[in-house]
């Protein structure tokens, strides 16, 4: 599968993170086929350390499918997903989360009848060590861990700027629900955060706040961020590197400037001028 050459439209020079091969995430030749439909076709993708990279493309280009392949919700048909040197291809979602990849969802998937704090505490699940016997006996360790998880959950909520900590997720306004999803993902202490259209439905000010949040994640927490986004303003402002998918194939990648000027990208978005 890795024998196939990279798509012709992407010259080797435009792949700055490929040279040393030391990305946090290194996905090679990932394909996903549903029956006869090739949703993702042989995509190579690298997320460098502390990088903010974006994945863009028209609707139905396979962006979310690719995300799901990375996070274990789908098993890639072919290809390999390496993360921090270990092979995560086709592993279960919870194993991938434990390994350090957290995500949000395009359609918000909060635990709607749990409070904001509880949502974040579920996000910590893989980092908590309590065992069933400990929970039953409520050992000092268990008690300390519960208290600590509560405190850390509040910290995460403060970090994303969500104030109504005790509110049920379903009662939060839309923008706060998006924030809560990010806080919940951060709670698993990821090295790589995958955001699936985080600014969908947000106004300009909220998008700007989110952009700043992503910068802080990089500088304050040393995280890498992989972003699927339709808002080109956000994408162009925040990304170091952009990859463009169309019909499941990678048609271009490079810096925001390069991508903006790439005729194939323009064609994919606007249609060819035939």
């Amino acid at each position: 599968m890795s024998e196939q050459p990279p798509p012709a439209a992407v010259p080797e020079a435009e792949q700055p993170h490929r040279a040393d091969g030391t990305g946090v995430l290194d996905a090679r030749g990932v394909s996903k086929v549903f029956g006869g439909l090739v949703a993702v076709s042989d995509v190579d993708f690298i997320v460098p350390e502390k990088g903010i990279v974006s994945l863009i493309g028209p609707n139905g280009a396979g962006k979310t499918t690719f995300f799901n392949c990375l996070t274990g919700l789908y098993k890639p048909t072919t290809g390999r997903v390496m993360f921090l040197g270990s092979d995560l291809t086709g592993k279960r979602p919870d194993i991938i989360t434990t390994a350090g990849i957290a995500r949000t969802f395009q359609n918000i998937k909060l635990f709607r009848t749990m409070t904001a704090i509880e949502n974040v505490q579920v996000g910590m699940h893989s980092r908590l060590r309590s065992r069933v016997t400990g929970m039953l006996l409520r050992t000092p360790f268990n008690r300390r861990e519960e208290k600590e998880s509560y405190r850390r959950a509040r910290e995460q909520l403060d970090f994303v700027g969500l104030r109504r900590h005790g509110e049920l997720a379903m009662n939060l306004p839309y923008g706060d629900q998006r924030r809560l999803e990010i806080a919940r993902a951060l709670a698993s202490e990821p090295k790589l955060l995958l955001l699936d259209e985080p600014t969908a439905g947000m106004n300009a000010q909220e998008s700007e706040e989110l952009r700043r949040l992503m910068e802080r994640l990089r500088t304050e927490r040393g995280m890498s961020v992989l972003l699927i986004e339709h808002d080109m303003k956000v994408v162009m402002n925040v990304s170091d590197h952009i990859t463009v998918l169309d019909h499941g194939e990678k048609i271009a990648e490079g810096s925001p400037k390069e991508v903006r000027e790439n005729p194939r990208v323009v064609e994919a978005y606007l249609g060819s001028q035939a």
Binding site: T97, T98, K109, F111, T113, V122, M135, N142
Partner: protein, 411 residues
């Protein structure tokens, strides 16, 4: 927020002013004094006390099923299997079912060794307070085994498979008269006759066994102690990492998995702990009823317990207890009151013989009128009335049902 939500909040607020611990003390005190209160109120309280002791057993089962159905959201229609397994554990470890062990002298652990005539009881006799925990562990193990094949199933399919297990387990016991699963030739169940008598409860520090059904108070207190023990641990589990994971799995399996919740482990724990409580209670009811008989373990019993959980209020420990008390007392007394009704319209049958039809009717009526149960958990109420409370258009378009598109894998 919508006004509907505001009204129910304020209506519950007045009850909230009484602190939780005060309620707990009140109900525990009431339960402890209950047999004596009955003595004062009635000339022959034994029948009601007997019904109450059975109810204690049902409460434990309802609380166990509540973990599976209410917390983790896995519909289980075969819960009776764990009642059966628990009951058979004391059938094996607390009766004369295996008369030849130890050369006919029997094995006795903290139980009376000799009968009134000075002869050693044959068979295995282990103290009740040890057997309940052996049974809990054994049923937990079987809960996990029976749960494992159902992990990929949801909704209707899950219900059907669990229903089948509820039918299979009693049949296995029924046919285990010459070895079990075709292995060996020991009689494990006496077939349809069942195992009887079952050892009476005795405290480990004395040889004097309880004397029920003549004297009911001691066995009532043992049952009450078990119920309090179960409530105590149930509450701890609910407020733990595992309890949160159960709710998360119930709410959104895909999101839970993506947040690092191991679906297999989380669901199996629900099955195992739910089953353990079924076995725990099965031991109690078996010794109290003095028999372990496969006729007790019918599908109808699973529905009976499930109805307690649903009518009481899925996911809420207190609601489930209320449901268990209400249904078991109704089953015992209410149905008799209705016995004359068919006759008045010219029909010739007993209402008691169609009791499960009546419970089915209750379930349906509940689904229509108050799907969250009498005392719902606040979460369940929100889930079931989400549409009414949710007036903001923000959520439109978020419920696309895309969960079906993900392959949530369990291997």
């Amino acid at each position: 927020m919508s006004t509907a939500a505001a009204t129910w909040r304020s209506s519950t607020a007045s009850l909230r002013r009484v602190p939780d611990w005060a309620w707990a003390v009140f109900f525990v005190a009431l339960a402890i004094l209950y047999p004596y209160i009955l003595d004062q109120l009635m000339t022959a309280p034994d029948d009601l006390l007997d019904a109450s002791i059975q109810t204690l057993g049902y409460i434990i089962m309802a609380l166990g099923l509540n973990i599976v159905v209410g917390f983790a959201g896995l519909l289980d229609l075969g819960y009776v299997a764990f009642y059966a397994i628990g009951a058979f554990v004391i059938g094996w470890l607390g009766s004369q079912q295996f008369p030849n062990v130890n050369g006919g002298k029997g094995i006795h652990i903290l139980t009376p060794v000799e009968s009134a005539f000075g002869r050693a009881f044959p068979g295995i006799h282990i103290n009740y307070f040890i057997v309940i925990f052996i049974a809990a562990i054994f049923t937990a193990f079987w809960g996990a085994i029976l749960g494992a094949p159902t992990l990929r199933l949801r909704g209707d399919y899950l219900a059907i498979v669990t229903l089948a297990f509820g039918e299979i387990v009693p049949r296995v016991f029924e046919n285990a008269t010459s070895g079990i699963f075709g292995i060996g030739s020991t009689d494990f169940s006496n077939g349809r006759q069942g195992i009887t008598p079952i050892d009476k409860i005795n405290f480990p520090w004395t040889d004097k066994a309880f004397n029920y059904p003549l004297e009911l108070k001691p066995v009532y207190y043992v049952g009450l102690g078990m119920v309090l023990f179960v409530i105590f641990f149930n509450r701890r589990l609910r407020d733990s990492r595992l309890g949160r994971a159960w709710i998360a799995v119930r709410e959104d399996e895909v999101a839970a998995a993506a947040m690092g919740v191991n679906l297999v482990r989380t669901k199996l724990w629900a099955y195992a702990i739910g089953a353990a409580l079924g076995g725990f209670s099965g031991v109690f009811l078996a010794t109290y009823n003095n028999t372990v008989n496969v006729d007790q373990f019918e599908f109808g019993f699973s529905v009976f317990i499930l109805a307690m959980v649903i009518i009481g209020g899925m996911g809420n420990i207190w609601g489930v207890i209320l449901g268990a008390i209400a249904l078991s007392i109704f089953n015992r007394y209410g149905l008799k009151q209705l016995n004359g009704v068919p006759d008045t319209v010219g029909l010739d049958f007993d209402v008691t013989s169609i009791n499960f039809g009546i419970f089915g009717f209750f379930l349906l009526a509940m689904m229509v009128l108050r799907p969250e149960g009498f005392l719902p958990s606040s979460r369940r109420r929100l889930e079931l009335h989400e549409v009414e409370f949710d007036e903001s258009p923000d959520h439109l378009g978020t419920e696309t049902g895309d969960a079906q598109l993900y392959e949530v894998r369990h291997e």
